[in-house]
Amino acid sequence: MRISNLILRSRLAPPLAALCLAPAAFAHNVAGTATGFESGLKHPISGLDHVLAMVAVGIWGSQLGAPAVWLLPVAFPLVMSIGGALGVRGVPLPGVETGIALSALALGLAIALAARPPLWVAATLVAIFAVFHGYAHGAELPHAAEPLAYGVGFVTATGLLHASGIALGVFGKWQLGRRALRLAGVAIAITGAHLVMGVIGSR
């Protein structure tokens, strides 16, 4: 069968066609929306501290198993929005950068040690860090070209980082994978410690 026929008959054909036609969307005057969404999407992935902490939340959730693996990604955005609202309103919150860097260190340690605290302890720890992360994102919101699009972008990026952490957690099904995940936790913790030192040193 010719490749073109294979493509046409596959389930991927409609989405592929839609993707090919996607540039037409930019003919519409949604520059503000597109820019806002793009900057929102980029914000969580532009900082190593954000990326490490979000992925770590997913990995740690996977290590903890149900219900934590589902509770943390559901609760995180809700609590993060509280921090985001504080950031939007410009309410002073001390130690935001330190809190974000500490989150990478603490979550990395939790993964490295395969820590299994009670669910409420894990949820509270993650919630505290979520406030700091939300604050940093929220502080950018008023400056966005399209605040709603920015919000959709950064919440989507945060959720996808969690999802990638959960996906990495699948390796925990195997002995070697569990070791690899704990090693990844060590790497995250070391990087987090480096970030904490950097924040403290910059003062």
Partner: protein, 190 residues
């Protein structure tokens, strides 16, 4: 079947290039596109459809009927009045409320689902009426927007009710928490 799907994509393609009311697209199709091209309308609409899908069949049908009916009625009524200034805040509040309810994923009373569907429909309907400029045939535009509302809610209900795997249902709840987070932060902005 796949050829039909490709055809459907091709039919939808011109819509991507269209703005709210675009010459050449037609009033009905402009109306159809309207709820899809504004995030402040698309996000609450998607959230309502997911919430309806989480409820039992009767409640889902209630939302399916109430939302487009409220949208059409409010859009028609909105032609006679000036567009209220609180619409964006109302959309953000709808996102926050609907998002939390999706994240919690509990059965709701019948009146609550009906009230939510009507409230979101009214907000979106008033937004639709604000887009009807002179030269646009209002009834066609409104009918298009209401049809999109009906299809979107139906699609959301069908999607959520077909989910069997637990992780997929949790993914819907996570999506709800994302929507709530967006709503809360946008509310804080205002």
């Amino acid at each position: 079947m796949n050829k039909f799907r490709l055809g459907a994509v091709a039919l939808l393609a011109p819509s991507l290039a269209a703005a709210h009311v675009m010459p050449g697209v037609g009033d009905f199709y402009s109306g159809m596109l309207h709820p899809l091209l504004s995030l402040d309308q698309l996000v609450p609409l998607a959230a309502l459809s997911l919430l309806a899908g989480q409820q039992n069949r009767n409640l889902a049908v209630t939302a399916l009927i109430a939302f487009p009916a409220a949208l059409a009625a409010a859009a028609r009524a909105g032609l006679a009045v000036r567009q209220p200034s609180f619409l964006f805040v109302a959309s953000a509040a709808a996102m926050a409320i609907l998002g939390v309810l999706i994240a919690v994923s509990r059965p709701l009373p019948h009146f609550a689902v009906a009230a939510l569907a009507i409230a979101v429909g009214v907000v979106e309907g008033l937004a639709v009426s604000g887009e009807i400029s002179p030269g646009v045939e209002p009834l066609r535009f409104i009918a298009g927007a209401a049809l999109t509302g009906l299809v979107m809610v139906a699609y959301g209900i069908g999607l959520v009710r077909r989910l069997r795997a637990e992780w997929m249902r949790i993914a819907v709840r996570a999506a709800g928490s994302w929507v709530a987070a967006i709503g809360v932060m946008v509310l804080a902005l205002k």
